[in-house]
Amino acid sequence: MPVYNAPLTTLDKNETRRYAGLKGKTEFSDKLLEEACTQALILANPKGVWNNYPYNAATNNVLSQPLYQPLSADLSEHLQNAVEVAILGVTIGEAVEKKVSDLFSSGDYTLALLLDAAATAAVESIADSINSLINTQAAKRGFKTTLRFSPGYGDWNITDQPTVLELAEASKAGIAVTSSCMLIPRKSVTAVIGLVPQESSITRSLCGKPSCKACSQHHCLARKEF
């Protein structure tokens, strides 16, 4: 199980704005945004792990011991050309979420909200880092990679979370799951990336940016406008 606790030296303020629900170019206190990003950087303790497994697209089976067949038509489609999968788990630890609660309690609602958003940007950034490492290693072996696909996307039920966690050996990064399949720490991400032979043409939808359009969370704060 490779471990990669990627460096986190900056946070994307625009992503933080988006996760906090600030649409477009809305003017908002840069000082508070900066403060939230700085606190997230200080409190984040990034950890990441992943494992690669062979994958049989014909039977939708991850060839682990024992076999794992994700029950998701969307994931099967996502992995239709994959012959291998990388299953990853990343987290930024629990300190940030504790701080968010404390800030709410002390009446610092705005900073709490922004810190939560910055923490989301942080964990996504850590996931991006490990993803780009997986991409590099895959490219050396002649593979392209699909986008990350996580439990809860499309029709992939989050009840698969414990299995995904186990396959990633995410407990080594300090990630656990509740009986209701929620990740602890909350700012954690698990995902599957498909490795597709360079020769086959990945369909455009798998290569493009993940779209908010396709998501059913219409009230999501971070939903992009169309």
Binding site: G21, L22, K23, E34, L113, D116, T136, I184
Partner: protein
């Protein structure tokens, strides 16, 4: 002289029958003749240097085949197999590959474990009699540092260090070719270069950049293009002729060792040999001669003609009790904050001092340097008088640090200089001798000269040296400033190394120190100061630096100056201030709408002073403001953070009223119990609703997250709420909404229920028997008001 390496080994062995998944290094003992045969083909194709079949022959990689105890045997056999193929002039490079793990804290492999793993392999290769050590295909500069340090301890043979860069021109862990060249040359690599991952076309810029950042020979071993998988076989698109057509371009870029990595064959090497014969390499580009410091991902140059670099002094517990206590307690969040804030304020280098009595300073330094190396990308200066602490910091730092500082005291010279050499650090020479602090300029120069000579004797280069001009307070000696300025000028004339000094000492014991400091700063820059150590939070000092850079031509056309200050100019004019309403209630209302949390208490006090009752203020300013914000949100004219800021401001207003009139009892608009349901640990949405309701005059009993129906029932019986709000985030916890509502009904709790959360919908809410569904926090407030007929 150009040297030609060989091409790929692994794929050649597979062509000769190595089964997939079989340990290639095992063939060194099982089929040495087949390994020799591959080497021979490369020698016949014109390779000057062949690489041993030991890329994965380290303890960690071999453990995948249960061969970790065979390191020495497999490496020795590999060297022999190579030697059997050599022509009269063929040289052998012992190949050292990565462990496949990242070094802590980036990964889980302790630095010392990695060091020992490489020490073991390189010792075996050295014993076998290789001519070079080739550390190659490394993704991370820190693992490269461990391998290079180990190789230098294990052998006296020249060491080649080749990193692998991605298409963005950096290694996976963020090191660019310039930074790699600076760090590895200082650390003692004999040849620096790149191999694998990219094709030769993508290597040109990497090699060019390296050439201008170091003086050692460069090597380039690209892949035959980007691989494809065809019928399950990895295949590389670039044929021998095309590949070789890049060889002369790589040589012109600055490489003198050329070979191939994945996908290259004896045919590729043969074509390179043909392509370069008769090629007269153009002169290698000139190297930047400035002193450089580096983090993992960034180089900072210092010296004459360059903008002043600020060394941030804040990570230092001297005279700071709270910071010292944090360090002692192992709480490093203050340090992290100081690091981020100083970089934001404009620091280019951060000084790190862990001088707290009674702690294990070496261990603390190791921890802090490791943490900071993942948090900031500016280079670090290790500030200590203790050799063990210095070594702990230098060893773990994945860059080229500055040592702050080395005096002419014999013990310091003996202990610190070898460490600087070993770890490729730059040193700050502080002109203090065993006899004490010098009193004249001449004495400073003479002591500095002593340190410089000792440093050069210890093997350091002139570009490893920086000079401290030594600042004494003018309160004790009126000529102190002039002496320091003259020292700066003479340093420049005599040595030409970058100059550094702790600036603020000049004003010690005087009033309005910042005035003295900034005037002295300007004079010092004009006298040749390159890198002041100062507090970057002092905006005047940062401004002074930017102005000086424009004045001295370090900032061509004042471009950076204009960019920095043109944008900030309008701040002095805030139109809202001019249109401040006269009526105090309207002013307070507007302040809440604008989220002016700091301004609102004063405005509330004005309201009270002008005779408005708390009830009037609440209704006409506070509630009215929140209503307006709510409407704006509903219409998409403002967003959640602005609503929260208004709520926060409203809270400040409430608290001000309470403070002014402690007896004032607010009339509750109603009691609401809020809970995130059992099994659900996400409470951000619930917290937002809670904050908004509270600041709309409701009494909120917040039961928290993961709350069982029983707890909710008990709370309902106790508090007799008007409304119970339930929240669930995910499909797995959504059924708890149904469950909880049905129990509430069974127990005949009269409160109305309102539900919300990411996955919930109005339909679901209705089917679960809830009285209402709220898609967001503002809607929740409106629904609650509606349900209670407010």
């Amino acid at each position: 002289m150009i040297y030609i390496f060989d091409g790929a080994m692994g794929t050649m062995l597979q062509e000769n029958g190595l089964p997939p998944g079989y340990c290639p290094e095992l063939w060194n003992v099982e089929h040495p003749e087949k390994v020799t045969a591959v080497h021979k083909r490369y020698v016949e194709s014109g390779a000057d240097i062949i690489e041993t079949n030991t890329f994965g022959a380290n303890r960690i990689k071999l453990s995948h085949y249960h061969l970790s105890e065979e390191v020495t045997k497999l490496n020795l056999a590999a060297v022999k197999a190579a030697r059997d193929a050599c022509g009269p002039n063929t040289k052998i490079a012992g190949s050292v590959g990565s462990t496949g793990k990242f070094i802590a804290p980036l990964g889980d492999l302790p630095f010392e474990t990695a060091y020992n793993v490489f020490l073991e392999q390189v010792s075996a290769l050295d014993e076998g009699g290789v001519d070079y050590i080739s550390i190659e295909t490394f993704l991370d500069i820190q693992e490269m540092r461990a391998a290079l340090l180990a190789a230098k301890a294990a052998t006296t043979k020249p060491i080649i260090c080749q990193l692998t860069f991605s298409e963005d021109g950096r290694t996976v862990t963020g090191t660019d070719p310039a930074t790699a060249a600076v760090i590895l040359e200082a650390l003692g690599a004999d040849i620096i270069g790149a191999n694998c991952s990219l094709g030769p076309d993508q290597f040109i810029n990497i090699i060019k950049t390296m050439a201008s950042h170091c003086q050692v020979p460069l090597s380039a071993q690209p892949n035959a293009g980007i691989p494809e998988l065809i019928n399950g076989q990895t295949s590389f698109p670039m044929g021998p002729k095309e590949f070789a057509s890049w060889a002369t371009k790589l040589i012109d870029a600055g490489a003198s060792y050329i070979g191939g990595c994945c996908g290259t064959t004896p045919a590729h090497i043969k074509e390179i040999r043909a392509a370069i014969s008769g090629h007269v390499p153009s002169h290698r580009p000139a190297t930047i001669s400035h002193t450089a410091l580096a983090s993992r991902s960034k180089v900072v140059f210092l010296g004459e003609g360059l903008p002043t670099a600020i060394i941030g002094e804040r990570i230092n517990p001297t005279g700071r009790k709270a910071l010292a206590a944090d360090i002692k307690a192992g709480n490093f969040s203050t340090i992290k904050k100081e690091a981020l804030d100083q970089v934001k304020a404009g620091a280019h280098i951060l000084d790190v001092n862990m001088g707290v009595p009674g702690i294990d300073q070496a261990a603390t330094m190791r921890q802090v340097i490791g943490d900071l190396s993942l948090l900031v990308n500016v280079p670090l200066a290790i500030d200590t008088t203790d050799a063990a602490t210095l070594e702990a910091g230098l060893r773990i730092y994945p860059g080229r640090a500055l040592i702050n500082s080395i005096t002419a005291e014999p013990e310091r010279l003996e202990e610190f200089l070898p460490l600087a050499k070993k770890y490729g650090a730059a040193i700050l020479c502080l002109p203090i001798a065993a006899a004490g602090v010098p009193t004249s300029v001449e004495e400073r120069l003479q002591i500095a000269g002593t340190i410089v000579n000792k440093a050069l004797d210890a093997g350091l280069r002139t570009k490893d040296l920086l000079l401290d001009a030594l600042v004494m307070t003018i309160a004790a000696d009126a000529t102190a400033a002039q002496q320091t300025l003259e020292t700066l000028r003479q340093y420049r004339r005599t040595f030409g190394f970058p100059t550094v000094m702790g600036l603020s000492n000049i004003s010690f014991g005087l009033p309005r120190r910042e005035q003295i400091n900034s005037a002295f700063y300007a004079m010092a820059i004009a006298s040749g100061l390159d890198a002041p150590i100062l507090n970057p939070y002092n905006q005047e000092m940062v401004d002074m630096r930017n102005a000086a850079a424009a004045l001295l031509g370090h900032d061509p056309s004042g471009h950076h100056y204009s960019l920095t200050y043109a944008a900030s100019a309008p701040i002095t004019q805030t139109p809202e201030k001019n249109s401040q309403p006269n009526n105090p209630l309207s002013a307070a209302k507007q302040a809440i709408i604008n989220g002016e949390k700091e301004a609102v208490p004063e405005l509330i006090r004005t309201c009270l002073a002008s005779g408005h009752t708390p009830l009037e203020i609440t209704n006409e300013a506070l509630t009215a403001a929140m209503n307006e914000v709510g409407v704006a949100f509903g219409k998409g004219r403002c967003y959640l953070p602005q609503v929260m800021l208004a709520a926060e401001t409203m809270r400040a207003a409430f608290l001000t009223i309470k403070e002014a009139i402690p007896a004032h009892e607010t009339i509750s608009a109603g009691t609401i119990i809020l809970a995130t349901v059992q099994g659900d640990i996400h409470d951000l949405g619930k917290n937002i609703v809670s904050a908004l309701l509270e600041n709309n005059g409701f009494t909120v009993i917040d039961l928290g997250k993961d709350v069982s129906p029983d707890t909710i029932i008990q709370a309902a019986e106790k508090h007799k709420p008007d409304i119970i709000g339930l929240c669930a985030l995910m499909t797995t916890t959504m059924p708890q909404i149904d469950e909880t509502i049905s129990i509430l009904k069974k127990k005949s709790i009269p409160a109305k229920t309102i539900v919300g959360g990411a996955v919930l919908t109005a339909e679901y809410a209705e089917q679960a028997g809830a009285d209402a569904y709220a898609p967001d926090g503002i809607a929740a407030v409106n629904i609650v008001k509606h349900l209670l007929g407010k």
